[in-house]
């Protein structure tokens, strides 16, 4: 029984489940694999010893002899201390070199490529060099040595995309930094990894890594002002947006709505997901959300406004034009 449990565990350990696709992730994964091998050997050793001893030295019926009363052996103690110590020294050295490779100190005055600000329960994404502000879906260029700055608007959050490497906390009043070199384009998912309140589970992360050209195109598109509505329903929707409470929390670039209490909605229609990973972005889901936020994502800071159906339809229609 134990043998099977122990081996199963070792098999899991030896699978490198994370698919490293950044320089940082690869370096860490390598170290993790070394560790798994060492740990598996150690566990195997302990299991083997325990099972062997249990079989060999089991009390046999009728055996009245007293076993040899050994009280210790300094040589064996030295080995038991020495060998793990040597292993740990090696791992410590590896740890140091990996830390330096993955998280080298940020020279003072370096401007970050992206500033991520954690809010309860969404991500504000700022590209200072390009003056672009979006929310939730993070587009990043492949093959660049990116510097990400991590801030928090309220409580402690944590940025973690397993395939892209190490995580970093977002702590209020402190600016943390993460280096990121993504190897190939793709869609990478992650999650907030520091308990931040009721909807921590739905503060998912979606990184869309693109090659340089595509990224620059996306950046250019997103720096533009929001689409101006032309049909009557959409116009009604945009009026409601700006005059009723929407504008007090959400920003739509090019309008009078400039708040960052809630996510930026300038190009909402280009995002594939809503509510930081909770739902797919389509009109039906948007309708459900705006009608009854507290039913969809209870605890979120958007109250139930109890709008009329027409009002919600207008808003939804307007927002779905914002590509």
């Amino acid at each position: 029984m134990f043998i099977s449990i122990a081996y199963f565990f070792q098999i899991i350990l030896l699978q490198s489940v994370e698919n490293p696709t950044s320089y940082q992730a690869e370096k860490i994964n390598k170290l993790f694999n070394y560790f798994n091998i060492a740990a598996a050997c150690m566990l195997l050793l302990v299991c083997f010893l325990v099972i062997f001893i249990c079989i060999k030295f089991k009390e046999k019926k009728g055996d009245e002899r007293e076993p040899k009363q050994t009280t210790g052996n300094k040589k064996i103690e030295a080995l038991m201390i020495g060998i793990p110590a040597l292993l740990l020294v090696w791992f410590f050295y590896q740890s140091l070199t990996t830390m330096h490779a993955v998280a080298s100190p940020v020279p003072a005055g370096t401007e970050p490529d992206v500033i991520i600000t954690g809010h309860q329960w969404w991500w504000e994404v700022d590209y200072p060099k390009a003056n672009v502000v979006t929310a939730n879906q993070v587009h990043l260029p492949v093959g660049k040595h990116l510097l990400m700055e991590m801030r928090s608007a309220d409580v402690i959050h944590d940025w973690w995309v397993p395939e892209l490497g190490n995580k970093m906390d977002l702590v209020p009043k402190i600016n943390n930094y993460l280096w990121l070199d993504i190897n190939k384009p793709g869609n990478y998912i992650g999650a907030c990894s520091e308990f931040c309140g009721a909807q921590h589970a739905w503060m998912r992360i979606n990184v869309i890594a693109q090659n340089e050209n595509d990224f620059q195109n996306w950046l250019a598109q997103n720096s533009k002002d929001a689409v101006v509505p032309t049909d009557s329903v959409a116009i009604k929707g945009s009026e409601i947006f700006e005059t009723q409470t929407c504008a007090s929390c959400h920003r739509i670039q090019g309008t009078t709505a400039t708040s960052n209490v809630g996510p930026d909605l300038t190009h909402l229609a280009s995002r594939t997901e809503l509510l930081t990973g909770l739902m797919k972005n389509n009109e039906e889901n948007l309708y459900k959300w705006i009608s009854h936020p507290q039913q969809v994502k209870p605890g979120a800071h958007m109250p139930d406004f109890k709008y009329e159906k027409d009002t919600v339809n207008a808003i939804v229609h307007y927002l779905s034009l914002l590509k």
Binding site: K60, P67, A103, I156, V171, F195
Partner: protein
């Protein structure tokens, strides 16, 4: 010449001891007898174990399927907070202190603890602290920021119910109970040992309790300071942790983990002591490397205060600070490993008897090694940067808490139950319990290593339907229910054995230490006479002497 020492009667009887045994509950509530207090601690641990376990099962039902709606996020948050808080402060601590308080005087040949009334005070304030914590559910909601309760989430503006205030006050009370018990234990061990028992001849359980008590009184003040500051913030608008007004979110983490890390050693050292008693008795040979086992516990206690920031590697303290704590965390793994190898070496060449107690001890070796290795993974900072705050941590902590502390406590339960009650625990049913519990436990937590590596963060009330998540969570939930069932079986076994278990006699296991000298259960005055102690195995010596005088 082997002298017997008369254990003196106190000049006047302790209050509460005069209550006669047919006054039932009153005798229990008013008792200052360390044995009754020890048993009450264990009962508190058992009751809260069932409550905390129920909380765990509720969580596992919610997590059994992706995007589940069994619990609302607010409910889930309170439940997982209370589960952690209950298991550590109201299960692990009372269980460990219960055995400490019951067996320390017996193993050193004393009749009582140094401060019997304070002993009773400690018990009841611990219990009331627990009640206060649970009262929060009736007073607007339980604490909901996690058992480690990070700021600024724990501030009034992010957690507006009074739950966290109850958390703070409840833990301050239970903390007072733990600290006073430790002071009691230290004075007892220093001054009440029978003649001849030098400190380097202490039974290893007593030695672990001794070191542990120092660790406890040094670690709890940090928690007390943090909780006091939090209450000042929440109730009097102070600014320790509220970042909007200049407070520091990280100050809480430092203070909490300066307590929190020693705390985990506090709940594991006495179980290490229990195992150091169980292995020799059921291998029929003395512990291998007594001095190393004893010294390693001192090393662990000292190092425990130098590793706390390994809980904060992802917070941005900087590579130098991280490296320091990485080194110290790796270092602390060595004395622990030494112990495991010493226990294995104790079994080697012995005559092993597979009682349920011994089975838990042997299982501990493997489970705790798994937990320890996953812990070492975290000491390697870059690995921590991937795996911290994921289900890999949940797996690690349960392997060391359950595979370590609980297995040690269960080994102690099956070993010492005959002494405490005079009845044997049913070994056959005990073996069923063992296998069900071990299979359930591993089923629940082994897969969580994989979940963490796949990317599932911890403290989430639900998760998206990503590949692998659903099936692994389902296996975990099924394992949890198996564990729950086996614990119910344990309760039944204990109850049935008390009612009509086999009579135990003074020394059913042919033990080496002084508690087996007296009757089962011991009388109010533990000993009338105790032999002068000349070695680490006083009972063994006494039995040898009796053998020889017969020949």
């Amino acid at each position: 010449m082997n002298q017997s020492i008369q254990i003196p009667e106190p000049a006047s009887p302790f209050p509460g001891i005069g209550v006669s045994s047919d006054q039932g509950l009153l005798q229990w509530i008013s008792s200052v007898d360390h044995k009754m207090i020890g048993i009450m601690y264990l009962l508190i641990a058992l009751i809260f174990f069932l409550i905390g376990g129920a909380e765990a099962l509720l969580m596992r039902i919610q997590l059994g399927q992706p995007v589940n709606h069994f619990l609302t996020p607010e409910a889930y948050d309170q439940i997982f907070t209370m589960h952690g808080t209950t298991m550590i402060f109201l299960v692990a601590m009372p269980a460990v202190l219960g055995f400490s308080v019951y067996f320390t005087p017996l193993m050193i040949g004393a009749n009582e603890m140094a401060f019997p009334r304070m002993n009773s005070f400690s018990l009841w304030i611990t219990f009331f602290g627990g009640l206060l914590l649970y009262f929060s559910f009736l007073a607007g909601g339980g604490p909901d920021a996690g058992w480690f309760n990070y700021s600024p989430l724990n501030e009034k503006n992010y957690s507006s119910s009074n739950g966290i205030d109850y958390y703070a006050m409840g833990l301050l009370l239970t903390g007072i109970g733990s600290v006073t018990t430790s002071i009691n234990l230290i004075v007892t061990i220093l001054h009440y040992r029978v003649k001849g028992m030098k400190l380097n001849m202490l039974p290893l359980f007593v030695w672990m309790v001794f070191v542990n008590s120092f660790l406890l009184i040094a670690a709890f003040p940090s928690l007390n300071a943090a909780l006091a500051m939090l209450l000042l913030d929440r109730q009097f608008q102070a600014h320790f942790f509220n970042t909007a007004n200049g407070g520091s979110a990280l100050l809480w983490q430092h203070l909490f983990w300066i307590f929190g890390h020693p705390e985990v050693y506090i709940v594991i050292l006495p179980p290490f002591g229990i195992l150091s008693e169980v292995f020799p008795v059921f291998s029929r040979k003395p512990i291998f490397g007594y001095a190393f086992v004893a010294a390693s516990s001192v090393a662990i206690a000292l190092l425990a205060f130098g590793v706390w920031a390994h809980h904060m590697f992802a917070v941005g303290l900087g590579n130098t600070v991280d490296a320091f704590f990485s080194a110290s965390s790796m270092l602390i793994g060595i004395p622990t490993g030494v112990k495991v190898f010493n226990w294995i070496a104790t079994m080697y060449g012995g005559k092993i008897k597979f009682t349920v107690s011994m089975m838990f001890a042997i299982a501990f070796l493997i489970e705790f090694t798994i937990g320890g290795l996953s812990g070492i993974a975290f000491s390697i900072v870059p690995i921590d940067w991937q795996l911290t705050d994921t289900y890999y941590v949940v797996a690690h902590l349960h392997y060391v808490f359950i595979g370590g502390t609980i297995f040690g406590v269960l080994a102690g339960l099956f070993y010492w139950f005959p002494k405490m009650t005079g009845k044997m625990l049913d070994e056959k049913m005990g073996k069923w319990f063992f296998w069900l519990f071990v299979i359930g436990f591993n089923g629940t937590f082994l897969v969580q290593h994989a979940l963490g590596m796949l990317g599932m963060p911890r403290r989430v009330f639900t998760y998206p339907d990503l590949p692998g998540y659903a099936i692994l969570n389902l296996i975990s939930t099924m394992g949890a229910f198996l564990m729950g069932l086996s614990v119910l079986l344990l309760v039944y076994i204990v109850y049935k054995s008390i009612k009509n278990g086999k009579a135990a006699g003074n020394d059913p296991w042919n033990g080496f230490t002084l508690e087996w000298l007296t009757t089962s259960p011991p009388p109010l005055k533990n000993f009338d006479e105790v032999p002068e102690v000349k070695s680490r195995w006083p009972l063994w010596d006494l039995k040898q002497l009796k053998e020889e005088s017969r020949k």
